[in-house]
Structures are given as structure tokens and as C-alpha cells.
């Protein structure tokens, strides 16, 4: 049972000579592991690697677009870059990082020793990893055995009939399909695992309404994953059947419909962005309270609002299709559902504000990233409202305004939250703190670069610049804005470099952290840093949402008020 005594005793004795085991043996350990912590770290490492690769792809595009009528890369190359950038960032950077964080933290934070199905966990990771390798093999093998390699160039949402054999010969599109089919299997496995873990493996006393926000929001996220990956899988199987067995799902010559691909894709695609953002919200909901020295404001409502977001997100998909010629009634319905999702999202922003209000804010690097994340969610949500108003979307849709909006969410909220999470949980994972000075450099450089790029990116959209164009005329008036946008990327690149250097350097030289460097309140801070393989020698029993607060403040425990 968790009490002051067990906190002060060492949880385990490190193996003698642990550091001198041969490299191959340690590598083997990682490859065959079923430990959720190692798998979580592999997911995150994999994701960060692809984040950098996707960033390079973006860099190439920004260099090409910095000048009107530029000839840095060919149109074919540019089209591959935006396809691979989008696909990589969503499926092989963001999703693995999100799954990795969940994998590492969820069992620790609910007082469990591992996930419900550890072997399935490992299998799911390796399937996801294989998917990325298959996709990137396209650079080598895309045109078939005797052709030169080419990556897919159909855009990350691969609209039909551009993906038909007639318009996309060779195999580049097939690498897109198969890479995602394979990683989709991994996603479903992980989702199933996280749900079962949260439902069945909570420690005694941890009712659903005492779950940490990380657990609740990942539960809703993985519930969404279970339902939405299958529509993408189905659509991709249909596309494969079209391309190779002469099926007619999207074959407009045989009476098939290009629009139904859009419906199937976006039924996956829209909830997918909530799959990415809800875990970011979870991070904000864990970090902000600790550095405000107050509990999360309105826990019950935060949970209910997230459940509402989960459900509503399944009903908004056709706001990506306002321009395809749906009836005015259909358009109006999707305006309503999309605008409706602003209400629970706004509630969350207000609750974070309420958490900070009246607190004693500590501006550690983790907190800086999270505060910026809240402000940027406000802005991104508002540009989303603008796009929800269909006629406004008839102008702004498929333009650089949309690109600015969704990068505002993905970078401005999700990546900022991930950066915040790294500074916050790195001490738990490695036993050492990251360098705060380098962290502040990372924050300010990235903040400047992010705003240079994505604030100004709204303007070309307003001036008529559509997306997915490899060049543009000087007379359109877009050049100066594109240049500012491209400059911001340099700042972001340097910032990410600071971060990576910090991550690597701090493993060896960071200050020792101890169990609980931030004076936090959730279960993971009660075990050692890093935690032992089995997480907890004695499975804790809890009585409130902040079990460590109860221990540190026995005169004023949370369970008296909850």
C-alpha cells in the first residue's frame, strides 16, 4: 500500500555490473522486449526519427516555394514531397509518438505492472514500424522491379480517380496503400491493448472517475482508433481491388463514385486528427496543474467534454467536402456538427485557464510549451470555426489557409505538448533532468519560427494560393509571404536541433532527478526514476485523483473534497 514508508525505501536494487553488458545483448533485449516502457520508448524514438525526415521533406518544399517560378525541384519531386510529408507526419511521426507516450505512461499512472497484452504490444509496434519501412521503400522500388524508384505522389488523402491505374501507373501508390494497411494493424492492436489495460488493470481504489487525465483521454482516443482505422483499411482494400482485380469501387467510367472515396477517407481522416490532439490535451491537463500548483479545474467536465468531442468528431467529416457539390441541407448539417465541436473544445481551453487562475505558476520549460499550446489551440480553434462556415470554406478550403490552420493544431498544439511532455517526463524515464537553459532556447526559437511560418501562412491562402502547387507566378503577390514562411522553418530546425542535443546530452550529463523532481501528484512519481521493470513492487491502493497529494498533505487530502 502506498504510504510514506514505501516512498522512502528503495524499490529495487540495480543489477551489479548492469552497465557492462555487451552491446549486442542490450540490443537484443530491446528487440525482443514486451515491456511497455521499452516499447513506448521505441515508438517515440521511431516517431522522432520520422518527424525529422518529414521535416526535411517540408524543408525541401519550403525552399522550392520561397521564390516564384523556382526550379529547385521538379514538379514530380515536389508532388512526392507533399505526399510523403503528410503521410509520414501523420502515420509515422505523430501516431507513434502518441502511442509511445500512452504505452509508457498509462500502466504507470494506473498502478499496473504492464499492459494487458504485452506480446500484442510488441507485435503492434513492429507492425507499425514495418509499415513505415514499406512506405519509404517506395523511394527505391516505386516503379516496379526495373524502373527507377518513386515515392507516391497522390497526396496524403489519395483522392480517386487519380489513384486508379490509369492515372497512377507503377507501384508508388501501392506502397502508400500497403504501408498504411500494415501500420493500421499495429494501430488497432495498440488501441485494443490500451483500452483493455485501462478497463481491467487499474489498481485498487482507482475508479474510472479517479483516472488521471492521461488515462481518460487515451481511452477515448483509442476508442476512436478502433472505429476509424477500419474505414481507411476498407477503402484501401477497395482501392487495391480496383487497381489489381479490375473492381469498380472508384471507377467513374463504370458508374463508380469518386466522392465515396472522399466519404470513406474522411470518416477516418477527421476523427484521426482528434486521435492526435486528444493525447496532446491530456499532456496539457497533466503538466499545467503541477506547474500551477492546483488540481485540474473541472475534472468531471473535462472528461465529459472529451467524450463529447469523441462522439461529435465522428459526425463532422464532410466539412472536408464542402466544395464537392453536396446539397445545401447536407452542407448545413456539417456546418452545425463542426461548429458544435467548438463548444467542448472551448470548455477545455477555459478549464486550463481556470487551472492557472489563482495558482502559483512556475515557468519551467515544460510549462512554457504547454501555455503556448493553450494559446495556439485558441487560435487554431477559431480558424477552424471560420472554415466550418461552409461558404467561407468555399474560398479558404484547399488553400494555404487550411494548411496554416491544421499545422497550427498539429505543430502549435500537438508538437508543443509533446515537447512539454518530454521535459516533464524525461526525468522519470532516464533519472536525469533535461537542461533548462537549452530548453528555454528550444522554446523561444521554436515559438518564433512557428509563428513566422504559420501565422503568415494564412495570408497566401486569403490571396488565392491553392495547396499542392510546386510553383506560382510572381504576379499573384504570394512571393513575399512565402519567403517569410520559409524563413520560419530555419528557426524551427535550429530549435529541434537544440532539443535533440538536449535529449542526448542529458542522458549522461543531466542533473539527477530523484523520484519526484516536480513535486507532482500522480502515481508514476511514486516509483523510482527510471522505474523498475515491474513498475511497482507493491501494487498501490488509491483514494483520490491525486494519491501523492494525499500522502504529502495528510491533513488536507483530496478524497475529502472529491
Amino acid at each position: 500500500m502506498l504510504d510514506a514508508d514505501s516512498l522512502s525505501q528503495p524499490m529495487f536494487v540495480p543489477e551489479a555490473g548492469a552497465a557492462s553488458r555487451p552491446f549486442l545483448e542490450r540490443l537484443h533485449d530491446w528487440i525482443v522486449t514486451v515491456d511497455h516502457k521499452k516499447i513506448g520508448l521505441m515508438y517515440v524514438g521511431y516517431g522522432v526519427l520520422f518527424l525529422v525526415i518529414g521535416g526535411i521533406e517540408a524543408g525541401i518544399m519550403r525552399a522550392q516555394l520561397a521564390f516564384a517560378n523556382n526550379h529547385l525541384v521538379s514538379p514530380e519531386t515536389f508532388n512526392r514531397m507533399f505526399t510523403m510529408h503528410g503521410t509520414t507526419m501523420i502515420f509515422f511521426a505523430a501516431m507513434p509518438i502518441v502511442f509511445g507516450i500512452a504505452n509508457y505512461l498509462v500502466p504507470l499512472m494506473i498502478g499496473a505492472r504492464d499492459m494487458a497484452f504485452p506480446r500484442l504490444n510488441a507485435f503492434s509496434f513492429w507492425m507499425s514500424a514495418l509499415g513505415g519501412i514499406i512506405l519509404y521503400f517506395s523511394f527505391v522500388g516505386g516503379n516496379g522491379l526495373y524502373g527507377a524508384g518513386t515515392a507516391p505522389d497522390v497526396g496524403w488523402f489519395a483522392y480517386a480517380p487519380l489513384t486508379a491505374q490509369a492515372f497512377s501507373p507503377g507501384h508508388s501508390t501501392d506502397y502508400w496503400i500497403i504501408g498504411l494497411l500494415v501500420s493500421g494493424i499495429g494501430s488497432i492492436g495498440t488501441a485494443l491493448n490500451i483500452i483493455t489495460t485501462i478497463v481491467c488493470l487499474r489498481c485498487p481504489g482507482m475508479t474510472m472517475w479517479r483516472l488521471p487525465m492521461i488515462a481518460w483521454l487515451n481511452l477515448i482516443t483509442t476508442g476512436l482508433v478502433l472505429i476509424i482505422i477500419s474505414p481507411l483499411t476498407a477503402a484501401q482494400i477497395m482501392l487495391l481491388l480496383d487497381r489489381y482485380l479490375g473492381a469498380h469501387f472508384f471507377d467513374t467510367q463504370a458508374g463508380g463514385s469518386a466522392v465515396i472515396w472522399m466519404h470513406f477517407f474522411w470518416i477516418f481522416g477527421h476523427p484521426e486528427v482528434y486521435v492526435l490532439v486528444l493525447p496532446a490535451f491530456a499532456i496539457l491537463s497533466e503538466v499545467i496543474p503541477v506547474f500551477s500548483r492546483k488540481p485540474i479545474f473541472g475534472y468531471n467536465i473535462m472528461v465529459l467534454a472529451t467524450i463529447a468531442i469523441g462522439f461529435i468528431s465522428l459526425s463532422v467529416w464532410a466539412h472536408h467536402m464542402f466544395t464537392v457539390g453536396m446539397t445545401s441541407y447536407a452542407n448545413a448539417f456539417f456546418v452545425a456538427s463542426t461548429a458544435a465541436i467548438a463548444v467542448p473544445t472551448g470548455i477545455k481551453i477555459f478549464n486550463w485557464l481556470g487551472t492557472m487562475w489563482g495558482g502559483k505558476l512556475i515557468f519551467a520549460t515544460a510549462m512554457l510549451f504547454c501555455i503556448a499550446g493553450v494559446a495556439q489551440m485558441l487560435m487554431a480553434g477559431l480558424t477552424g470555426i471560420m472554415l466550418a462556415c461552409a461558404p467561407f470554406d468555399w474560398q479558404l478550403g484547399n488553400s494555404y489557409f487550411v494548411i496554416a490552420h491544421f499545422h497550427y493544431v498539429i505543430l502549435g498544439v500537438i508538437v508543443f505538448a509533446i515537447f512539454g511532455a518530454s521535459y516533464y517526463w524525461y526525468p522519470k524515464i532516464t533519472g536525469r533532468l533535461m537542461n533548462e537553459t537549452l530548453g528555454k532556447w528550444h522554446f523561444w526559437l521554436f515559438l518564433i519560427g512557428f509563428h513566422l511560418t504559420f501565422d503568415f501562412m494564412h495570408i497566401p491562402g486569403i490571396l488565392g494560393m491553392p495547396r499542392r502547387i510546386y510553383t506560382y507566378e510572381a504576379s499573384r503577390g504570394w512571393e513575399v509571404w512565402n519567403q517569410i514562411v520559409s524563413v520560419g522553418v530555419i528557426f524551427q530546425g535550429v530549435a529541434v536541433l537544440c532539443w535533440v542535443v538536449n535529449l542526448l546530452w542529458s542522458v549522461y550529463k543531466g542533473r539527477k532527478a530523484g523520484n519526484d523532481p516536480w513535486d507532482a501528484w500522480t502515481l508514476e512519481w511514486s516509483t523510482t526514476s527510471p522505474p523498475p521493470d515491474y513498475n511497482y513492487a507493491i501494487v498501490p491502493t488509491v483514494r483520490s485523483r491525486r494519491p501523492l497529494w494525499d500522502l504529502k498533505h495528510p491533513e488536507d487530502p483530496d478524497w475529502k473534497y472529491e
Partner: protein, 318 residues
């Protein structure tokens, strides 16, 4: 006259005007929300920061407030409802607008990577540059455009004239414009359609009623048969040009590429990728990939003399 920058906040046609009004309304509301909430956030960050010399006591542990939750649920619901009503009104005003009797009918067919414009009422087909009459006064003369596709998805977007609508094969769509000022308005394809999506540009020339009629009359005449270009015409008809292009009144009636009957009446070639000068035209005929790499028109490997001849011929097609 040079076209203006295609700014959605400089509308020049009724549907774009309607969207502009909605946009300003939505921006005002969103702006108000942003200023309010962002100010509160900045205030909180400044006022509640932990200060030097502060003791280590924890602040009051507030768990929530039902009144606040109610307030910041009800107010957003009201705002969302108002936005929905305003939006639904504009959707209906644009999508369901009945067209008056004087409407010009145009059929736009999207191709990889050019625009086909058919004028069924007048009986001719042209490409890439859309001429429409200005619509002034009570009896408007808007243009109603039916949108079809010959291959993949495209999107018709001329920001100053209307919101974009997609061209999707086997899924006819429609849009309409009602420009109030003469001039040239630019736009381009707004749905990724393949390698040269970027250079599938649009030019809409809004003419006075007289100029429009003159243009129509010119388009209805059969192709010029200048004796000076007879040799060029022979080369044109002997090479595979006729398989893709139409020149009315000759044996060229291919449908895969743009109609060239009145090619010289256009200011640009290759769907806006280059100005219609002799030099550009010659380069385009010699090797389209130099101007528009990946365009579906092949280089026909003609001799320099033949290229000159064909260029001469095309320059007579006024």
C-alpha cells in the same frame, strides 16, 4: 490591363460578395473571442506567476465551479447557433439561387491540365480563358457554369468571383458568377489533379455587353484559311496534331486537347502557363515540357522548319 491579386477580400461578383459579408461577420466574432480569451490568458500568466521570496505554500486548491462551467458552455452554444444561422442563410443564398432568364450558360470540362469551355447557347467551344458579360442593373446577366471532368478531380476557383466548386468525373456540379466590374480575374485549379496541377491556371475576362458580343461573334466564325499559312496547315494536318486538337472547318477534330480554332484570341497559352507570344508558342510546339514539364502534350520531334510553319499557321487562327 493586368489582373489584380486574387484576394478573397476584394470580391467583384455577387456570390463572392455574399461570402465576403459572411466572412467579415465570422471574423468579427472570432476576433472578439480571441481578444477576450487571449487577454485573460496573458493576465493569468502575469498575475499568478510565482514570485521571488514567495513561501512554498500551495495556493487554494479549487477543483472547479459549476457556475463557470455553465457560463462558458451556454455562451459558446449561443455563439455557435448564431454562426450556424448566418452561415445557413448564405449557403442557401448561393447554392439554391434561381438563375434569371438572361443567364449565360457555360459548360466547363476539367482536363489534365487545361480547361474546356463550351458555350451551348452560342454553339462553340473554347479553352482556358472564359469570357463572360458584366452584370449590371436590375436585369442581371449572371453566368451559370456546369462543371464536368474528363479525367480526375479538379476545382474551379477564381477568388474574386466565387467560392470554389469541384469538377468530379461522373458527378456533375454547378456554380455561378455575377461580376459587377469589367476586367480580368485570375484563378487556378484548386484540387490536386496530377503533375501539372500548379499550372492549370484560369483567366476570366469580364466584358462589357458590346465587347462580349463581339467576342462571341468572333468565336462563331469558322477558322481562318489564310493562304500564307497553307504549308503550316498541311504540316499541322499531317502530323498527329489533329488527333488531339479541333480547328472547326478543317479535318482537325480531336477532343483530347484544347480547341484551337481561335487560338490567337487568347492572351496566354498552356492554360496560363505562358503568355501567347510567338516565341512561347514556338517553344511550346517544339517541346511542351520546357514550359510545363509533365503536360500531356508530347513533343512531336518536328524539324525546325516544320515548327516554324506550324507556328505561322497557328498565328493565323484569330
Amino acid at each position: 490591363m493586368d489582373p489584380a491579386i486574387p484576394n478573397i477580400f476584394h470580391p467583384a461578383s455577387t456570390p463572392a460578395d455574399d461570402i465576403h459579408h459572411l466572412a467579415l461577420f465570422v471574423l468579427a466574432i472570432c476576433g472578439g473571442i480571441f481578444v477576450t480569451v487571449f487577454s485573460l490568458l496573458v493576465y493569468a500568466v502575469v498575475k499568478y506567476r510565482r514570485r521571488e521570496g514567495d513561501d512554498d505554500s500551495e495556493p487554494p486548491q479549487i477543483y472547479g465551479s459549476n457556475q463557470m462551467e455553465l457560463a462558458w458552455t451556454v455562451i459558446p452554444v449561443v455563439i455557435v447557433f448564431v454562426l450556424f444561422l448566418a452561415t445557413a442563410r448564405i449557403i442557401h443564398a448561393i447554392e439554391d439561387k434561381p438563375m434569371p432568364p438572361g443567364t449565360l450558360e457555360v459548360v466547363a470540362v476539367g482536363h489534365q491540365f487545361w480547361w474546356e469551355f463550351q458555350y451551348p447557347q452560342q454553339g462553340f467551344i473554347t479553352a482556358n480563358e472564359l469570357h463572360v458579360p458584366v452584370s449590371k442593373g436590375a436585369n442581371g446577366t449572371p453566368t451559370h457554369i456546369k462543371l464536368l471532368s474528363a479525367d480526375t478531380d479538379h476545382s474551379f476557383w477564381v477568388p474574386q468571383l466565387a467560392g470554389k466548386t469541384d469538377l468530379i468525373p461522373n458527378h456533375p456540379n454547378e456554380t455561378w458568377i455575377e461580376p459587377h466590374e469589367t476586367g480580368i480575374y485570375v484563378g487556378q485549379c484548386a484540387q490536386y489533379c496530377g503533375v501539372q496541377h500548379a499550372k492549370m491556371l484560369l483567366r476570366v475576362i469580364v466584358d462589357s455587353p458590346e465587347d462580349f458580343q463581339k467576342w462571341v461573334d468572333g468565336q462563331k466564325t469558322p477558322a481562318a484559311q489564310a493562304a500564307s499559312a497553307a504549308h503550316g496547315r498541311e504540316v499541322f494536318e499531317a502530323t498527329a496534331c489533329v488527333n488531339c486538337h479541333t480547328v472547326t472547318g478543317t479535318n482537325a477534330n480531336g477532343k483530347f486537347g484544347p480547341d484551337l480554332t481561335h487560338f490567337m484570341s487568347r492572351e496566354t497559352l498552356a492554360s496560363g502557363a505562358a503568355l501567347n507570344t510567338r516565341e512561347n508558342l514556338r517553344q511550346w510546339i517544339k517541346d511542351p515540357d520546357v514550359i510545363k514539364p509533365g503536360a500531356l502534350m508530347p513533343a512531336m520531334q518536328m524539324t525546325e522548319a516544320d515548327i516554324d510553319a506550324v507556328t505561322d499557321y497557328l498565328e493565323t487562327l484569330r
